[in-house]
């Protein structure tokens, strides 16, 4: 069954509404501050909608469902940890309050006040490396979801004959490139203002889709059947064969479906806890909402109110993944070419009827678009603000600044089309995302904590923390790409080593710098950001 006319109507109305609203906000963009942080006019509920929409993309739904497919309900553990950490930060204001009060547009900008210009630049490079690589798999996973949930074959391609050359156009790649062009259109024109408005629309559509789908999955499977099925799958040791990567077969067994320690082990769970606190204080797309908030109090309230959203972010798509595991298990196994990532959308296709399918596809398009626009804008702002701007002898004129950031959004979009559509995931999607994010999370978290709360921190420690923090995850990516599966480094080892090396670098580097009487920028004698020190 392919899409019915009612599904197409829902999807087209939603897409047109988003583009019109996004492009309409262009008229309010007067300068880079309006473009990057919405003139710092964002209020609480708009902040909640925007943060929730940005942090739930199709990629999120895919990897959290994959967690459910492989680990049952225990797969929602990262969401639970994220909720706890977000709540703690929202109550205490840890990191986010001094950051908002500093009046900066990006995290690396904060470091210039404390550690000097070269640390800001280096931090910007690491942020971009981790952030853009992280975003690299969004399009492919998003396309996989949309193809499978629509009942289409992702390998279908069309042969196009043009007068001067001919080529094969893959349907998945064409669809995701088209979607990215729509996102680029309103993000390039309206920046954060367009992102906020479209995030709001997307929050509504996405929220409705997630609730409807979750209720439908539980209704179809039955809650007690789901719990019993998980336990039977685990105790019987049943294995589903994943053939999603050509020429490679992987057997997927259900880990302990309820107990996270038995499913993952202490090393992984504690790494996830560490990663969660780093994400909520350091992940630039999350922090962009803190920096766009009217004041620090609003930023804290956004965090408190969004915190429980993180449980559902993992738990609800996790239920869809569990439903997929049980469905294909009872069908005798996964069809050829299907894997742990694509089983969930294929399962949803079997239970969603006309109308509902349109709502769910619109919801997932909403999730993808809000995430892509938020990420594109954030990374472009960091490239301009922290990599290009510190190298300029003379500041650019306001229109030139705006044009530069818009061109950067466009350039990242072009990069994503090429990198995102040919990269093949070597392992679990969540592990890839966590490890690429770790390239900068470990080092920037160390710099933030050191810079804001340790008077002894200096630029020697900061540089050492950045370099050492990036080595672990980059080594993981390179080694795992070239060695056999059995010899690969586990994600928790790569993750913990990044945090450990980064903290060690900050402490040892700062102490060495102090001993040599170096490493302290002349302007930064206090641990507070410069704008807070002003009389």
């Amino acid at each position: 069954m392919l899409l019915a006319p009612i599904d197409w109507i829902i999807i087209v109305v939603y897409m047109v509404g988003c583009v019109v609203a996004g492009v309409w906000m262009r008229r309010y963009v007067r300068n880079v501050e309006d473009f990057a942080v919405a003139g710092r006019e964002m209020d609480l509920n708009l902040g909640v909608a925007s943060l929730a929409a940005t942090e739930v993309g199709i990629v999120t739904v895919m990897y959290t469902a994959e967690n459910g497919f492989k680990n049952g309900l225990a797969g929602a553990t990262p969401g639970l940890l994220g909720c706890i950490m977000m709540l703690i930060v929202g109550i205490t204001g840890f990191v986010i309050v001094p950051m908002r009060n500093a009046g900066v547009m990006t995290i690396p900008e904060l470091f210039e006040n404390r550690f000097g210009k070269h640390v800001r630049w280096l931090a910007g490079v690491v942020v971009i490396l981790g952030g853009v690589l992280n975003m690299g798999i969004f399009l492919r996973l998003g396309g996989d979801f949309l193809m499978y949930v629509s009942g289409l074959d992702p390998s279908v391609s069309f042969h196009l004959e043009l007068p001067w050359f001919s080529f094969d156009l893959n349907m998945l790649e064409a669809m995701m490139t088209g979607l990215l062009i729509v996102v680029l259109l309103y993000t390039v024109l309206g920046g954060m203002l367009s992102v906020l408005i479209t995030d709001y629309l997307q929050f509504l559509v996405m929220g409705a889709g997630i609730v409807v789908t979750s209720v439908l999955v539980i209704w179809n499977v039955g809650w007690s059947n789901l719990i019993d099925g998980l336990w039977q799958a685990h105790t019987s040791g049943v294995k589903l064969v994943d053939t999603s990567i050509a020429g490679e077969t992987t057997k997927v067994a259900m880990a302990h479906p309820f107990n996270p320690i038995k499913a993952f082990g202490w090393g992984w769970v504690t790494w996830q806890a560490m990663l969660s606190i780093a994400i909520v204080t350091t992940w630039q797309t999350t922090i962009a909402r803190v920096l766009s908030a009217r004041d620090a109090s609003t930023a804290k309230a956004v965090y408190r109110r969004t915190s429980f959203y993180y449980v559902g972010r993992f738990g609800l798509p996790g239920i869809w993944g569990i439903g997929a595991f049980l469905y294909f298990w009872h069908q005798g196994g996964l069809p050829q070419g299907m894997g742990s990532l694509t089983a969930m959308p294929a399962f949803l296709h079997t239970i969603l009827g006309p109308g509902l399918l349109g709502i769910v596809i619109a919801a997932m398009l909403a999730a993808e678009m809000s995430t892509d626009s938020g990420y594109l804008l954030t990374w472009a702002t960091v490239i301009y603000n922290d990599i290009i701007s510190p190298c300029l002898r003379k500041p650019l004129s306001p229109w030139a600044k705006l044009l530069t950031v818009r061109l950067l959004v466009l350039a990242i979009g072009v990069f994503l089309v090429f990198y995102g559509l040919w990269y093949e995931l070597p392992g679990a999607a969540w592990d890839y995302l966590a490890v690429t994010g770790n390239i900068y999370l470990a080092s920037l978290f160390t710099l933030l904590v050191g810079g804001l709360y340790w008077r002894g921190a200096n630029s020697w420690g900061a540089v050492a923390a950045i370099v050492l923090g990036a080595i672990g995850p980059i080594t993981f990516l390179v080694v795992n790409a070239i060695v056999d599966k059995k010899d690969q480094i586990s994600p928790e080892v790569a993750g913990w080593s990044a945090f450990g090396m980064s903290f060690a670098g900050m402490i040892v580097g700062s102490l060495v710098g102090q001993a040599m009487g170096k490493g302290q920028p002349a302007a930064a004698e206090s641990s507070l950001p410069a704008k807070e020190q002003a009389p």
């Binding site: 309010y28 309006d34 919405a38 003139g39 006019e41 964002m42 209020d43 609480l44 509920n45 708009l46 909640v48 909608a49 929730a52 309900l73 225990a74 929602a76 639970l80 203002l193 906020l196 408005i197 709001y200 929050f203 509504l204 929220g207 409705a208 997630i210 609730v211 979750s214 209720v215 809650w223 719990i227 309820f258 107990n259 009217r294 004041d295 109090s297 609003t298 804290k300 309230a301 429980f308 959203y309 449980v311 559902g312 738990g315 609800l316 239920i319």
Partner: protein
């Protein structure tokens, strides 16, 4: 015993999440709309609505 605890815990988490998403959909849906109106007024240079949905704590 420990498995029963985890099953009960995850059951509460899943159903509470569905309820929370449903609640936020309406609450944030309505108040977020007003936030957009206030933000657009502020950006247009017109006087902003006094009661934005910002937190009341000092």
């Amino acid at each position: 015993m420990i498995d029963t605890f985890f099953i009960a815990f995850w059951t509460v988490m899943v159903f509470a999440s569905i309820a929370w998403y449903g609640y936020l959909l309406f609450h944030v849906g309505i108040k977020g709309g007003w936030d957009i109106v206030r933000m657009i007024r502020a950006l247009s240079g017109q006087p902003a609505k006094p009661e934005a949905s910002g937190p009341k704590d000092p």
